[in-house]
Structures are given as structure tokens and as C-alpha cells.
């Protein structure tokens, strides 16, 4: 579905991502784990067209390198950005409405989609008219995921959904991610929290200093010494 080959990204003279290759098959949940500053967000920004990159990003046979962010959404790749980035002075409903901006849904279909999001996150249903900026971090993360789902993504990318959240809230969010996985959505999950990430993903990649240092099925990764030492704190 998504095939990245020899992708490099530079900020000025600093190369943040070096020749990485990565694949996501349809129906899979793939995780990209790495510590702070490894280049995870940079990779995601290259895929979603936020920053220019060298190399090849093919999605369902189409080259994405060179397209801008608003065009890539229309291909079905939707990002839940790092730090959530909900629209703080729009309310919950308006945020969700913005999520459906690129889709050609009619209003009936959009309302139906919104109902689905509210079923997934009953907390949001109780706060339809609350301004997003006044909600807790966990609620904002739910809204950010719900907003992305409104676009009916074919590939959902989540950039550190656990960032800055209390462990109990992280567990909630990952339960939802598991539920979305059950429904068959293909996902690329970016995480520092390797433990959580490996618990939902099918396959995982490790990123360090802008390079892929390992990739395998999660069962194998959980047993690997390098992964244990570096990410699982064992």
C-alpha cells in the first residue's frame, strides 16, 4: 500500500532522515519506534507532504514525493499530528467538520461519520460545543483521532499519540487504536513508547539518528536484546 524507498530529508545542512526504506501493507498496523530526535516526525512530515524530501514515496502505485499536504489527504493518507494540534478556538463539532474538509461526503453521510466518532469516543459526544482548546490532553487526543477518522482515511498515521498523557489515558487511547485496527484500518503508528506500540502493531521498525536500525514482526522484536535494552527498559 505504502512503499518508501531511499527517503532522505534535510533541514538546511543537517540531514535528519537518511536513506530509509519502509513498507506498509494493506490491513497492517506498522509501528516506527525511536527515541526523541530520531527523525520520526520528520519521516511522517515527508510522507504527508508537510516538508519536501528526496527519494520515493509510492502509495498504491502513485508517487507522492512532490505533492503538497492538502493533496495527499485526498489520496487517503491522514495524519494525527504530534501534539494533537486540534483547532483550539473551534468547538468539537467544528473540529470534526474540518476533518471531513477534503472528502466529497454529503451532509447526511458526514453526520453519520460523526456519529461513528461519537460512538468511538463518548467523551466527545458530551462535549460537542466545547472549545477544543479548553479540553484535557486526553480529550484533545481523542478529538485529533476523531478528526482524522472523519476524512475516512485508507492509511491513518498517528504521530506519538501517547505524548504527554497520563498512563491511564494512554491505555484508553491505545484501546481505541486496537478497536480501529479491528475494523481493518491500515495504520502507521509512530511511538517512543515501544511497549505500547509493540502491543498493537503487526510489524515494527526502529529509527535511530535518521536511519532504520531494525525491522521485524513484533513477536520477534519483543524478544530481541537490542530492542529490549534500548526501548523496553529491561
Amino acid at each position: 500500500m505504502l512503499e518508501i524507498e531511499q527517503l532522505s530529508v534535510s533541514y538546511g545542512r543537517i540531514q535528519a532522515v537518511r536513506n530509509i526504506s519502509l513498507k506498509v501493507e494493506s490491513g497492517e498496523v506498522v509501528t516506527l519506534i525511536g527515541s526523541n530526535g530520531a527523525g520520526k516526525t520528520t519521516t511522517v512530515h515527508a510522507i504527508t507532504g508537510v516538508i519536501p524530501a528526496q527519494g520515493s514515496i509510492r502509495y498504491e502505485g502513485k508517487e507522492l514525493c512532490g505533492l503538497s499536504a492538502h493533496q495527499i489527504v485526498r489520496e487517503g493518507i491522514v495524519l494525527v499530528p504530534e501534539g494533537r494540534r486540534v483547532f483550539p478556538r473551534l468547538n468539537v463539532e467544528e473540529n470534526l467538520y474540518m476533518g471531513a474538509y477534503a472528502s466529497k461526503m454529503g451532509s447526511a453521510e458526514r453526520d453519520q461519520e460523526m456519529e461513528r466518532v461519537f460512538q468511538l469516543f463518548p467523551r466527545l459526544a458530551e462535549r460537542k460545543t466545547q472549545l477544543a482548546g479548553t479540553m484535557s490532553g486526553g480529550e484533545q487526543q481523542m478529538l485529533a483521532i476523531g478528526r482524522a477518522l472523519m476524512a475516512k482515511p485508507k492509511l491513518l498515521i498517528l504521530d506519538e499519540p501517547s505524548m504527554g498523557l497520563a498512563p491511564i489515558v494512554v491505555k484508553d487511547i491505545f484501546d481505541t487504536i486496537r478497536q480501529i485496527k479491528q475494523e481493518g484500518l491500515t495504520m502507521l503508528l509512530i511511538e517512543q513508547n515501544a511497549m505500547m506500540a509493540l502491543s498493537v502493531a503487526d510489524r515494527g521498525y526502529g529509527l535511530e539518528h535518521g536511519e532504520i536500525v531494525f525491522s521485524d514482526h513484533v513477536e520477534n522484536l519483543r524478544d530481541q536484546d537490542v530492542v529490549k535494552k534500548a526501548y523496553l527498559g529491561k
Binding site: 508537510v50 499530528p81 494540534r85 483547532f87 474540518m98 474538509y101 476524512a151
Partner: protein
């Protein structure tokens, strides 16, 4: 006397609001101080005049014509003077805007000379309406208030209930997140410039009609005052801009009524307010936070 000055002040306030709303919306989407907005007001007034004199338009059609031409001019200014500089230091775009303003003013002086001219006759005479025996208002000022109110209501409905309107709000709050939702930011910026410029043109044409006077530099003082209004209300805040515009209009009008012959000229009041706000509450009355330029 007081009621009379208040009424005049509200009418004046609405002209400031119509100019300043565009500035505040443009600041919202691009975080840009658009110093060429004053000349857009001039373009609006002159286009309306040309519509009447050379294209046989009636008053209303000429005003709409002025709004459309100014809207297009605003979009062009963004395209030519600001977009190529996006991502550079804010001072760079600011200078670019000042450059455009000087260029357009000079161009108008070359074409129309610097001399003031009257607003062409359309059968719409400016005449006083007596509300009570001591309070009156010219019909032109009444139109400004009515048209201003209608425009603000339409703008509110547009921003709240249309897809493009909500997208403008979203871009103002988080441009990157909006583009990740599929919003074409350049399109939103263009629409914002068009609307803001058309509203400034409306003010320009009405003021030219009300004072029966047009000249190439007519937009410079109103443009600067609109900045004061936007800073007073809080950069990027539309409700703040509305309150700020009314405050400036009323204060100016009262000072004209009560402080004639004082040391401070009426036109200086806006800048006194600006300095006070920057000293006392730099984020403005309704501002969220101050961003360094």
C-alpha cells in the same frame, strides 16, 4: 450635543471597522501586518468613481464594482508582494507591503494627479436626516452604519456556517493542521484577502461619497488608523476589532465636539491610543498573546 457626537462617532467607527476587519483577518491567517491595505481602500473609492463616470453604473453597482476591483487588487498584492516572501522574516513582508503602498499611491498620482476631486453625482444626494430637533445625521452616514452592520452579520454567518469560513478560522488557528485536513492554504489566503479588501473598498467608496472627495493618498491615514484599531482590539480578534473601531470612532468624534482647538489633532488620537495600548496591554483588549515581530 453628546448624542449627536455619539451618533457621528458610531458612523465613523463603522468605517474604521470595515477597513480594520480585513487587516485582522489577514493577520489571522498569515500573521502578517498588511501595510498596503490603505491603498486598497483608495482603489475601491477610485474604482467606484470610474464605474460611475465611465461605465455608466448607478451608485450601488459602482460600489459593488469598486469592491470587486479592490478584492482582485488585494489578491494580487498577496500573490506578488507577500507570497514570494512567505517564511522570511516578518519585517521583510512588512517592507514589501509599504513598497506596494508607495507604488500604488504614486501610480494614482501619475494618472489622476494629487488634487482632490469630488465624488461623481449619481442622484444620491448627501443630505441630513433629522432624528430629533437637535440630532441629525447625514443619510450617507446612516448608510455606512446600516451597510456596515449588514456586512458584519454576513461575515459572521460566513465564518461560522460555511465550509470556507470555518477553514479560514482553522487556518488562523493552526495553518499546518488545516493543510493536513486538506485545506488549500493559498486558496484560503486568497479568499481572505478578497473579502478583507472588498470591505475596505466599501469603506473607501462610502467615505469618498460622504465627504465628496477622492485623492490618491486618501487611504494612508485610514490605513494607519485601522492598524491602531486592530492593535487596540487585539491582533486577529474580529470582536476586538469591532469594539476597537467603535471606540476610536466615538473618541475622535467626541474630541471633535468638545476639544476643538486643543493641542492634539483629531487624527493623532488613534496613535495616542496605540501608544497607550502598547504600553499598558500590548495584547490588546481581546488579544490572546503577543507575538514578536
Amino acid at each position: 450635543m453628546l448624542a449627536q457626537q455619539l451618533l457621528n462617532g458610531i458612523a465613523l467607527g463603522f468605517t474604521y471597522i470595515l477597513i480594520a476587519v480585513g487587516l485582522t483577518m489577514i493577520y489571522g491567517v498569515l500573521k502578517l501586518l498588511h501595510f498596503a491595505h490603505g491603498v486598497i481602500y483608495t482603489v475601491g473609492a477610485f474604482s467606484a468613481m470610474i464605474g460611475i463616470l465611465y461605465l455608466n453604473m448607478n451608485f450601488i453597482v459602482a460600489i459593488l464594482f469598486g469592491m470587486i476591483i479592490a478584492g482582485i487588487a488585494g489578491v494580487l498584492v498577496e500573490r506578488l508582494a507577500y507570497r514570494p516572501l512567505r517564511g522570511t522574516h516578518p519585517i521583510t513582508t512588512l517592507i514589501s507591503g509599504v513598497g506596494i503602498a508607495i507604488f500604488v499611491e504614486s501610480l494614482f498620482q501619475a494618472i489622476f494627479t494629487s488634487d482632490p476631486r469630488g465624488f461623481p453625482a449619481t442622484g444620491m444626494k448627501v443630505e441630513p436626516i433629522h432624528i430629533t430637533s437637535s440630532i441629525s445625521l447625514t443619510n450617507s452616514k446612516l448608510y455606512i452604519i446600516i451597510v456596515g452592520l449588514v456586512c458584519l452579520l454576513l461575515l459572521y454567518a460566513f465564518l461560522k456556517w460555511t465550509k470556507m469560513g470555518v477553514a479560514i478560522q482553522a487556518v488562523s488557528q493552526d495553518m499546518r493542521a488545516a493543510s493536513l485536513m486538506g485545506v488549500n492554504v493559498n486558496q484560503v489566503v486568497a479568499v481572505t484577502f478578497f473579502i478583507g479588501s472588498a470591505l475596505a473598498a466599501l469603506a473607501g467608496a462610502f467615505v469618498a461619497y460622504d465627504f465628496n472627495s477622492l485623492f490618491p493618498t486618501m487611504g494612508s491615514i485610514p490605513g494607519l488608523k485601522a492598524f491602531c484599531v486592530v492593535v487596540l482590539g487585539g491582533l486577529g480578534s474580529i470582536p476586538g476589532t469591532i469594539i476597537g473601531g467603535l471606540i476610536l470612532g466615538i473618541v475622535e468624534s467626541l474630541s471633535e465636539g468638545y476639544l476643538t482647538g486643543m493641542v492634539i489633532d483629531k487624527d493623532a488620537i488613534a496613535f495616542v491610543i496605540l501608544i497607550l495600548i502598547l504600553l499598558l496591554k500590548p495584547s490588546g483588549l481581546f488579544g490572546k498573546q503577543v507575538e514578536k515581530v
